[in-house]
């Protein structure tokens, strides 16, 4: 292939929701099967796989291959916070540009429902790099991303002034308006 262009042949996503009856691999497999069907190819053509996931504990790419087709291709598991799925796309994009493969599959999957804070231990014992005797979330500020980013927005407004909360509301309004165009939004 002489062209430097990389084409997106097929794309798919699962419906947003808690999916109590589907695990991570089920969700990844559904998106994969529909993507390659949309592209009109099979796993046989795929020459590289990048699998993005943050909270699942690793090895999603290998597990996905067992679920949908294991052909001995290189697989890269990536984790990069909010940019995890985009990083999977970048890994495949760069591999195609480098000529390592003609077809690649990038997948991003996450399951967040059902988490809870770990309980305190029976006797206090300092752990980790803050020598904490229990989980910090909710006690030393928040660790959830909506809370952290809310504070970043507040700090931006406080430091530079003039950043109205109307502006943040307009961004939210725009994003929600986009979601109404997505039949898979919850």
């Amino acid at each position: 292939m002489a062209s430097d262009d990389v084409w997106i042949l097929g794309i798919s996503m699962t419906r947003f929701g808690k999916h109590p009856d589907s695990d991570l691999i089920d969700l990844a497999a559904e998106a994969t099967m529909n993507s390659i069907a949309d592209a009109g190819i099979t796993m046989r053509e795929i020459g590289i796989l990048a699998a993005g996931n943050l909270r699942g504990g690793g090895g999603i790419g290998q597990a996905l291959q067992k679920q949908v087709g294991q052909t001995g291709i290189p697989v890269y598991n990536v984790a990069n916070a909010c940019a995890t799925g985009a990083t999977a796309i970048r890994v495949v994009h760069m591999a195609l540009r480098a000529g390592e493969a003609d077809f690649g599959l990038a997948i991003g999957v996450e399951k967040l429902a059902g988490g809870e804070r770990v309980g305190d231990s029976a006797t206090w014992s300092p752990q980790g790099r803050f020598g904490a005797i229990g989980p910090l979330d909710g006690r030393i500020g928040t660790e959830t991303m909506p809370g952290v980013f809310a504070q970043i927005g507040m700090e931006y407004g406080h430091r530079y002034g003039g950043t109205s909360f109307e502006l943040f509301a307009r961004i939210s309004e725009k994003n929600h308006a986009h979601s109404t165009l997505n039949p898979l939004a919850s």
Binding site: G115, A132, T144
Partner: protein, 131 residues
């Protein structure tokens, strides 16, 4: 009765409760955990310093939804203690937009976490409004 223990190792209890930080000797950047090199200047020498117990709220959010097990609502904040950024809850203040505001003057305050099976009490910190 056993001595109370601090919730984190950078909280010093006793007569004059305060926080301690590791300060980069080259640029003065402060960190509450151990570092191999300074994130700002890559310096590798640190010294322990006391953090001022008074500061002002630089950012906050009122958390209404959290993981099961985390009591809500609570106020999460970044407090500027004379140049040192401290992550903490705001305590002894109503968790409402009317009661909390940016630039609010606050001071370090202690709060009870609970007692373990050995009868040891754990003490954490937050910041409360200065009156």
């Amino acid at each position: 009765m056993p001595q109370p223990v601090p919730f984190v190792d950078y909280l010093v209890l006793g007569e004059r409760p305060h926080l301690v930080a590791r300060e980069c000797t080259a640029c003065g950047a402060r960190f509450f955990d151990r570092r191999n090199a300074c994130a700002s200047c890559f310096g590798t020498s640190f010294t322990q310093v006391d953090v001022p117990t008074e500061g002002e709220v630089r950012a906050f959010t009122i958390v209404a939804h959290a993981a099961p097990g985390v009591p809500v609502p609570f106020v999460s904040a970044t407090v500027d203690c004379a140049g040192t950024s401290v992550r903490a809850n705001l305590i002894n203040v109503a968790p409402t937009p009317e009661a909390v505001r940016l630039g609010m003057k606050v001071r370090l305050a202690l709060t009870a976490v609970g007692v373990d099976q050995a009868g040891t009490e754990a003490i954490s910190f937050g910041f409360e409004p200065r009156r």
